[in-house]
């Protein structure tokens, strides 16, 4: 099964890092195939940042997102620019303090999290992307929790690991609560 994920936000939000960590988690720690690409041209357009991850059990041919199954957006401009990339019925995950939905959102399954607010509570808004990755794992299950954390551990300098672990678990637990409520 080919799964396509697109991350979008602003430069500095760790959008590229989030994509890289996710793709590496799938490839090296979940034993799947994955391809990670980033859009360099978007960065030049004034702060926008986006990355793409394709995950599959088989060899991946076309390396980029054609019709995203999951769209994770952390800025209004990313929502505006990339919503058309999300396939009908796809999962839209938003940073709820930074993204306002419009009528187009009705075509998608929506999950919201105040990732930046949580990150600030933990100690630094810089870990908002890691909160988001925890949330993403809980909601989607595309990458296992263990694989994602291992990939984060490999990417983040040791002295920041504790803060990142808090961020990851915060996002994960927040997501799991939503998932549990849905099941009821």
């Amino acid at each position: 099964m080919r799964v396509e994920i697109k991350f979008g936000g602003l430069g500095g939000q760790g959008i590229i890092t989030a994509g890289y960590i996710t793709a590496k988690a799938a490839a090296l720690h979940d034993g799947k195939e994955s391809v990670f690409t980033q859009d360099y041209s978007a960065e030049a357009r004034g702060g926008a940042s986006t990355s793409e991850v394709v995950i599959s059990d088989k060899m991946i041919n076309y390396p980029q997102v054609l019709h995203a199954d999951y769209l994770v957006v952390m800025s209004q401009s990313a929502y505006n620019d990339y919503l058309h990339k999300l396939k009908k019925g796809g999962v839209l995950i938003i940073e709820e303090d930074l993204v306002k939905l419009d009528e187009r959102a009705k075509d998608f399954k929506i999950y919201k999290i105040p990732a930046t607010r949580f990150a600030e509570e933990i100690g630094n808004p810089i870990v908002a992307n890691i909160v988001m990755l925890g949330f993403f794992v809980a909601i989607t299950g595309v990458v296992s929790k263990e694989a994602m954390w291992k990939s984060i551990e490999e990417r983040i300098p040791k002295r920041f690991l504790e803060m990142n672990q808090k961020a990851f678990l915060k996002g994960y637990e927040y997501g799991m609560e939503i998932v549990k409520k849905e099941k009821k």
Partner: protein
């Protein structure tokens, strides 16, 4: 590198593949999308006892690796876009003086500064004809991060074996995209070293070829008189500016590649056996085609993919082999298309893209549907 799985970009794989092949000298001038190769080499070469130099420009970079190769080291550089254009004069020098070097060219949207961060495939013909004169060269082009690593070993082996510069093509997509890659154990691959002279200094002419048309190569400092001239030269290496010397030398440096072409050819044939319509595509663009071929097959269209991995010398026998129609899907306005036309019996269609993105699977599929029987 310890054997095992890594998550690397094409650029990192090109650098690590070079080191794995035995490269211990890199001179370069960074340019997108090849800069990460220089970055990786700057980090890694000192760790393995090699040397990295950031040069003043691309002309100096290729000159430096030619010089390094004469000392017996395996040497490479990497560049892109305007950088490869600047290197072309000295690529001719490497051809003429028969110096093994590997030059990575990560193709981006062009001409001129074009699209620095986005994919292009406009340098196929330049890889072959970029320098002035009539010569043969070897050019390879992978389509995945794994193949980039593996093929870099072949690139160095070919360069050493045939005493020729190898133009290793990447594209901006492959250079920057990350995939899983397996690094094998150090002793699991064959590494070819250039032939060394068997006769002592004084008796060995430095451009005296063996029966395979390839002269053994002494290193500077071993006592041999080395005169490496870009001028037409005799077997001593001294300039001999006559039609006879030109005939002998230029014929030989072409034939040493042409006569070994089949050993150099690498081609991927995917579902071509019974195909009515074969798409010829190279590099990352071939990955799109695979998806389209599978989709077309589901619709009853007998489609296949032919992917030249060796771009030069062009693997023409693979084109001649099939009596199918061909579509050439390349990210330029018609280059390999002309080579395919040269050898195909039937219809050849060009499906061009000017650059900036790969063909989309539906674009290939749309073209294939016209061939439904």
């Amino acid at each position: 590198m310890k054997p095992g799985y890594y998550f690397w970009s094409g650029d990192i794989a090109a650098a690590e593949g070079g080191i794995f092949a035995g490269c211990r000298f890199y001179a370069g001038y960074p340019i997108t999308p090849s800069s990460e190769i220089a970055e990786r080499m700057a980090l890694r070469l000192p760790q393995v006892g090699g040397k990295f130099i950031e040069m003043e420009d691309e002309i100096g970079s290729i000159a430096a690796i030619i010089g390094a190769s004469w000392t017996g080291e395996k040497a490479m550089t990497a560049t892109s876009g305007p950088g490869i254009s600047l290197m072309n004069e000295n690529i001719g020098l490497a051809v003429m003086t028969e110096v093994p070097v590997v030059i990575v060219n990560a193709m981006r949207g062009a001409p001129s500064t074009g699209l620095p961060t986005l994919v292009g495939q406009g340098d196929f013909m330049q890889a072959k004809w970029g320098s002035h004169g009539s010569y043969e060269i070897i050019s390879l082009y992978p389509s995945s991060v794994q193949e980039t690593f593996d093929l870099m070993i072949d690139a160095f082996n070919y360069a050493e074996k045939y005493r020729v510069p190898v133009i290793f093509l990447l594209d901006a997509m492959l250079a920057h995209m990350y995939e899983k890659i397996y690094v094998p154990s150090e002793d699991s691959v064959e590494r070819i070293e250039r032939k060394k002279p068997t006769k002592p200094p004084g008796e060995q002419l430095i451009y005296e070829p063996d029966d395979d048309l390839i002269p053994p190569m002494p290193s500077i400092g071993e006592g041999y008189k080395i005169h490496a001239s870009g001028l037409t030269h005799n077997e001593k290496g001294y300039p001999q500016l006559t039609a006879e010397a030109q005939e002998k030398l230029i014929r030989r440096i072409n034939d040493k590649i042409r006569k070994h072409a089949e050993e150099i050819w690498k081609v991927e044939e995917y579902r071509t056996e019974d195909a009515d319509i074969i798409v010829v595509a190279m590099g990352t663009n071939a990955r799109t085609v695979k998806t389209a071929v599978d989709e077309a097959r589901k619709e009853g269209i007998k489609a296949g993919l032919l992917r030249p991995i060796t771009i030069w010398p062009f693997p023409y026998k693979y084109i001649e082999k099939y009596s199918a129609d061909y579509i050439v899907a390349e990210i330029n306005y018609g280059q390999i298309y002309h080579k395919v036309r040269e050898y195909a019996d039937n219809k050849v269609e060009l499906l061009p893209k000017m650059g900036g993105e790969l063909h989309k699977p539906h674009e290939i599929l749309h073209a294939l549907r016209r061939y439904k029987k």
